[in-house]
């Protein structure tokens, strides 16, 4: 069982070593016949395998859109589950082509770790959940509280900053996963559970009596989450960035998974035509064909549909669009012009 694999791989390694150098990421992906997408090991609504082992979720949907844009097959993705500790090395070492794993866009990650964030697909922020019977109405009343906090995340740093700025003290209870945090919080090991508001909402919905728990009104940090690629391949970065733009633009322009086939025949709106490849030849500039965006939209729907089906109204989680609504609707989602 072991030696055989070793031999095969050894031979393959030697073979590939000779062939593969200086291939662009897109060429590698096309040669391989599938996209390798770094995903979460399991985050409710954002990415997890279902009972049949098919990955589902909001971040997963984005990777499927990229795969559809490249291959015309949203299933041509293999998902590599990554923990918050392993995600950056996996992307940097080339183990994954793109990291779509609710990762906060920060200066250090962008500049020092040498990644490019392709945009923001979810605006989140850090919040606090407490048991209602504590009678706490504001995060400013949390002085001296014990706080369950996931290690290795930006929330850990934000928490320290927030308490220091407001001259309060706290006692951290470090945990490794959201499930552990929920368990510790429910068992009373900590008074407060803090993480991104979206995750708090889905945790609260999973409790036996959600009404016993309150999410405090304060949002203490900016958590712009988005897909990331590594430095050094600008064309690949463009493909990821503009796939995300295409999904948002589709919502702005009213292109949905239902009418995309019809609109791709040609319409009166020039920007829709450019987006869907009827005119402009934008796909070719990316190194893809011109129907790339139409295929991505047909596969997962536009941004609004993807949101609603995975974490929004049509899902049991039922998150509000909030900041993630289109700019026109008072949110912050905004696609650069397809021009």
């Amino acid at each position: 069982m072991k030696k055989t694999v070793f031999v095969g791989t050894f031979a393959a390694t030697a073979l590939v070593a000779g062939l593969a150098n200086a291939q662009s990421t897109l060429e590698q992906v096309i040669d391989r016949g599938e996209l390798i997408c770094g995903s979460n090991t399991g985050q409710v609504g954002f990415g997890a395998p279902d009972a049949d082992g098919v990955w589902q979720g909001f971040d997963v949907g984005f990777c499927r859109a990229v795969a559809a844009a490249i291959f015309d097959d949203p299933m041509a993705v293999s998902f590599v589950p990554l923990t918050s500790q392993t995600r950056f090395s996996a992307l940097a070492s080339g183990e994954v082509d793109v990291l779509s794993r609710n990762t906060t866009w920060t200066f250090v990650r962008d500049v020092d770790l040498q990644f490019n964030f392709a945009g923001i697909n979810y605006y989140d922020g850090q919040g606090f959940m407490v048991k209602s019977d504590l009678g706490v109405g504001s995060a400013m009343e949390l002085d001296g509280a014990t706080v369950c906090i996931e290690t290795g995340t930006t929330t850990e740093l934000n928490l320290a900053d927030f308490f220091r700025v407001n001259g309060m003290s706290y006692e951290p209870v470090p945990v490794d996963t959201a499930a552990e945090a929920q368990q510790q919080y429910l068992a009373g090991a900590c008074d407060v559970y803090t993480t991104d508001v979206s995750a708090l909402a889905s945790s609260r919905a999973s409790f036996a009596t959600p009404s016993d728990h309150t999410i405090l009104p304060e949002v203490v940090s900016k958590e712009p989450l988005g897909p990331a690629v590594r430095h050094g391949d600008d064309n690949w970065y463009d493909i990821i960035k503009w796939t995300l733009m295409a999904l948002v633009a589709a919502e702005e322009l009213g292109v949905t998974s239902e009418n995309v086939a019809e609109l791709a025949e040609g319409s009166d709106v020039p920007e829709i035509n450019r987006l869907l490849g009827v005119e402009g030849g934008f796909g070719a500039m990316l190194g893809l064909d011109n129907e790339w965006a139409a295929r991505a939209i047909a596969a997962v729907g536009n941004y609004g549909e993807l949101f609603a089906n995975t974490i929004g109204d049509n899902s049991p989680i039922g998150l509000e669009r909030g900041m993630n609504a289109l700019f026109a609707d008072g949110g912050m989602m905004y696609a650069m012009p397809f021009r």
Binding site: M1, A20, T41, S203
Partner: protein
């Protein structure tokens, strides 16, 4: 009374008294209780405290277990069925047991890992139970290649080509032995390596083109759950024992080069935590390999786990070697046996017998350590429990999954420890 005590002489009893029941406190359960649980005020106190703790635990867990729900589609349904009462929701096991056992292995191919497991026991039986016919060992030799093909599938010629490497090595040894012993050893090592590097690839592709036999290919990332623990654990266990023995012998060797290589290897591996090696396997290795190379992650992990376990195994076996009286070595020399014969016939059987508890200990530890792969994102049972909780249906479920996983591991680890006890009893040669 009078007939038994027919006193012929006033002070001598010449008949036996009939046996009477011992006093209540000196027999049966009561005696056992008195002697073992209530033999003094300290023990009585401890017994009462223990009983209280057991009672509390039963009261806490009992209703939860007795009230379990086995048929529901989601945690919410479970709670509706329970309607406010406490109870376990084992419906999650009913819904997802196949994932905890097989990961994402294609469902219509579940028979393949199951068959591989059944055949594993067949392959192991001649090794574990010497009473079975020796001819079964042929199957044991074939088994690794067969299991690889059953689990991964693909072209049947890949494992056959790899197996042929050993045949080539054996042929080279026999052929060259007539010329020179040392040459034969070199030939036996070099020939298979050459075969694997140069000829195995073309052999595989030509034979696949001529006779495209083989099972449906299953990619490594479809592996998960208990399947991955077993694949890593069993490969690690079966490879680490021979490697460990060689390392232990190397460490005792008089040849300075071999000795120092072994010592450095063992001390390095023992000085580094397994999790570091796993991170190296999953992350660091890719920096050194040419871009675009995909070196199967499970294979990388198996190699690292094997290296790790073999270093510990080497020390366990060295303990066994050290416990042998020097006379045994001298006796082997006196009989005129060469090094390998002495090891095979005299030293190793005794040293390994002494080391059995340590060896099995390492095995069990290794098997449980396979759950560490969760940190590098492989979906072993623990990793899958996270993934299952991340579905909206089962978000919030906790203990039920861990109880199931714990039970699975317990069955295997307990089985191993029972077997080692059996083996120790069977191999007992002293008359204590």
């Amino acid at each position: 009374m009078s007939d038994t005590h027919s006193n012929t002489v006033a002070y001598v009893r010449d008949t036996m008294l009939p046996q009477t029941e011992p006093p209540l406190t000196e027999k049966g359960a009561l005696k056992w209780l008195r002697e073992n649980l209530f033999s003094g005020w300290l023990n009585t106190g401890l017994t009462l405290i223990a009983l209280f703790i057991i009672w509390q635990a039963l009261m806490a867990v009992g209703p939860w277990l007795l009230n379990s729900v086995w048929n529901a589609g989601s945690l919410r349904e479970c709670r509706d069925i329970l309607d406010g009462a406490t109870g376990a929701c084992f419906a999650v096991i009913v819904d997802r047991w196949h994932q905890l056992l097989f990961g994402f292995y294609p469902r219509h191919l579940y028979w393949r890992p199951v068959l591989a497991l059944v055949l594993l026991f067949v392959a192991l039986s001649p090794v574990l139970f010497p009473s079975l016919p020796r001819r079964l060992l042929t199957f044991t030799a074939i088994y690794p290649f067969l299991a690889y093909h059953l689990l991964w599938g693909g072209s049947v010629w890949l494992p056959i080509g790899a197996a042929l490497g050993f045949v080539v090595g054996a042929l080279a040894y026999i052929g060259l032995k007539r010329v020179n012993n040392l040459l034969a050893v070199f030939g036996a090592v070099l020939a298979p390596v050459l075969w694997w590097l140069v000829l195995a690839g073309p052999f595989d592709s030509t034979m696949s083109a001529v006779l495209p036999w083989g099972l449906e290919f299953v990619r490594s990332d479809r592996f998960g759950g208990f399947l991955i623990s077993l694949v890593i654990g069993i490969s690690g266990i079966s490879l680490s024992l021979p490697l460990g023995i060689l390392l232990a012998l190397g460490r005792q060797s008089d040849m300075i080069f071999i000795k120092s290589v072994c010592v450095v290897f063992i001390e390095f591996i023992r000085g580094v935590p397994l999790i570091t090696l796993l991170f190296t396997a999953s992350l660091l290795l890719n920096f050194f390999l040419p871009p675009g190379t995909s070196f199967d992650l499970i294979l990388r992990v198996i190699i690292m786990v094997t290296l790790f376990a073999s270093a510990y195994m080497a020390e366990v076996v060295r303990g066994g070697l050290a416990a042998l009286p020097k006379g045994q070595y001298e006796a082997a020399d006196a009989l005129g046996l060469d090094y390998w014969k002495a090891q095979r016939l005299i030293i190793m059987p005794q040293a390994l017998k002494i080391s059995i508890p340590g060896i099995v200990n390492t095995f069990i530890g290794l098997f449980k350590d396979t759950t560490l792969v969760v940190f590098i994102g492989l979906l072993d049972p623990i990793g899958l429990s996270n993934a299952i909780r991340a579905s909206t249906d089962w978000n919030g479920i906790y203990w039920e999954l861990f109880i199931f996983i714990g039970l699975l591991f317990f069955i295997f680890c307990f089985g191993m420890s029972r077997y080692s006890l059996y083996l120790e009893r069977k191999l007992k040669r002293d008359h204590r």
